[in-house]
């Protein structure tokens, strides 16, 4: 897994659905190994932006390039985790992960793929449930498996679309910690784009937060998040700098909403 030059560039990006402009004038870059949070209210097009980076949608105008190459469609250099743990329900959990292993290592035998998939599951704390089917797992466990599958692609980019949005607070916290641990633990680090509408989650996880406004969706502000890692929730939530940044972001979001209300 070489991450050399694995940065993302988005230039003058526009995306429209018929007459409706969803995204307009997006300029954004994410450098190699960086953890970027895309933060915005619903309707700001943050998920659409992620789908454009993933290559699941094609831009109306502008350019997305990953690792120096323009994105022309989905590719196994960009792993994606969706909000709704989209494992294939007819495959066992280990077979779901083994599909990703097969793409990263096409020459491996079936048994070797399963073994690696099993090891990947163990890394996210699912060593015991590989032979089960997704419907036998809780939501949190399914999302762990989806993360294991994304990691098994061994791709330099990791794109996550509100991956913990459907989880209860305890599972959400566990998976946030797991994600940071896995991201920091791999060398070189993956370039992560993480979509969320939760300010605290963005500040806990990311190196930088890009705040998005609505109608049309665009980046209204960017904030570096410089808190030392590893970050502890309890310490962070007492930190004055954390609260200051949180206020600033909330103000930026409110200002955008107000501007729209006045215009309407």
């Amino acid at each position: 897994m070489t991450h050399a030059g694995h940065s993302l560039r988005i230039e003058r990006l526009k995306f429209a659905y018929g007459d409706a402009t969803i995204l307009d004038g997006i300029d954004l870059s994410v450098h190699e190994g960086e953890f970027l949070a895309l933060l915005g209210p619903s309707g700001s097009g943050k998920s659409t932006l992620l789908r454009l980076i993933a290559g699941l949608e094609a831009p109306t105008a502008g350019l997305v390039s990953a690792g120096g190459r323009p994105v022309a469609g989905p590719g196994t250099d960009r792993a994606v985790v969706f909000q709704h743990y989209a494992l294939f329900p007819w495959m066992t959990v280990v077979d779901n992960v083994a599909e990703a292993v097969a793409k990263a290592h096409p020459t491996l035998s079936r048994g070797e793929r399963r073994e690696r998939a099993q090891a990947q599951l163990a890394r996210v704390g699912l060593g015991e449930v590989g032979r089960h089917h997704p419907f036998e797992l809780s939501g949190g466990m399914q999302q762990r498996a989806a993360i294991a599958r994304a990691l098994a692609l061994e791709s330099p980019f990791l794109l996550m679309d509100e991956p913990f949005g459907a989880l209860d607070p305890i599972n959400r916290a566990r998976l946030q910690d797991l994600l940071v641990e896995v991201w920091r633990g791999s060398s070189p680090r993956r370039t992560v784009v993480f979509v969320t509408h939760d300010v605290d989650e963005a500040l806990l996880l990311a190196d930088r937060v890009a705040v998005m406004g609505a109608n049309p969706g665009r980046v209204i502000a960017e904030y570096p998040v410089a808190f030392d890692r590893p970050r502890q929730r309890a310490a962070l939530f007492k930190d004055a700098g954390f609260h200051h940044l949180r206020e600033e972001i909330a103000d930026a979001l409110d200002a955008d909403t107000l501007a729209h209300l006045e215009a309407a």
Partner: protein, 273 residues
């Protein structure tokens, strides 16, 4: 983590119910209604049969007589079943393979969809029974004509259901297949086919029903063996006990085939429960 694992194991321990409770529930669940209806019908049959019984050949032979005829005809009915299945299995099997393959392809390839769907709209509603005289006249053997007609009857429902299954694959499965870099063939085999199985099984059930109808109708025309032929043959001799026995036997065979398909469906679609 350990809490989650416990949560996972919980259902199996809950499911393992203890003896007394399970037995009581089994008794409460026992459905006596179908048996009551069957008994009522049997009594009505016996009474009507007795009332109609004149001298010699009864128009409605009473149950005991039919049962006797059924018992006596079992070897002949067995041979008839084999003969019928030699038509049914290849005709239905070929329809299944071709219907699923073409349906999934048409449902995932826009160009094939444009080619197939308007044609299917016109061709599918033609009652396949109208092909029987033509097939028998044109094709060299009866076996081939009957197989062709069975194929035709089963093909359209399977094709149409497979195609609509392929069209309704959930967006998230499609997205995941693309993100994982699946080739079109991998996508068909690992995603579209399993995702379409609920639809395919509906098509298979409709197709199997049609197959039995067409098989027996075709056998009324030109067969020298088979289930439909058995009924037709004894009708010609006005041997109503054997004829009714043949009808009941055909019903039982159809029911068995449908139940088998249902069991298969239940097994294959475990992930929907």
């Amino acid at each position: 983590m350990s809490a989650e694992q416990k949560a996972l194991e919980l259902p199996s321990t809950v499911r393992g119910d203890t003896g007394g409770g399970a037995r009581r529930r089994l008794f409460a669940d026992f459905a006596w209604e179908p048996w009551a209806l069957a008994a009522a019908l049997l009594v009505a049959w016996q009474i009507t049969g007795n009332a109609l019984a004149g001298e010699g050949n009864p128009l409605l032979p009473p149950p005991a007589v039919v049962l006797r005829a059924l018992w006596d005809s079992l070897p002949e009915l067995g041979r008839g079943t084999v003969s019928s299945f030699l038509i049914l299995v290849p005709g239905y099997g070929f329809a299944l393979v071709l219907g699923v393959a073409l349906g999934l392809l048409a449902g995932t390839t826009p160009r094939l969809a444009r080619a197939f769907f308007p044609f299917a709209k016109v061709a599918a509603p033609i009652p396949p029974t109208v092909f029987i005289p033509y097939a028998i006249a044109v094709l060299p053997t009866f076996h081939l004509s009957a197989t062709f007609v069975v194929f035709l009857g089963a093909f359209w429902p399977i094709f149409q259901n497979a195609a609509s299954g392929a069209l309704s694959v959930e967006g998230r499965h499609r997205d995941n297949a693309r993100v994982l870099g699946f080739s079109h063939f991998e996508y068909l085999r690992k995603v579209v086919f399993p995702a379409s199985l609920p639809h395919i099984f509906s098509g298979m059930a409709v197709g199997l029903g049609f197959s039995f109808i067409l098989l027996t109708v075709a056998e009324l025309f030109g067969a020298n063996a088979g289930l439909g032929r058995f009924v037709q043959y004894y009708a010609d001799f006005a041997d109503y006990p054997r004829m009714v026995a043949g009808i009941l036997y055909t019903g039982a065979v159809t029911w068995a085939a449908m139940s088998l398909l249902d069991k298969l469906r239940h097994r294959a679609l475990f992930w929907l429960r």
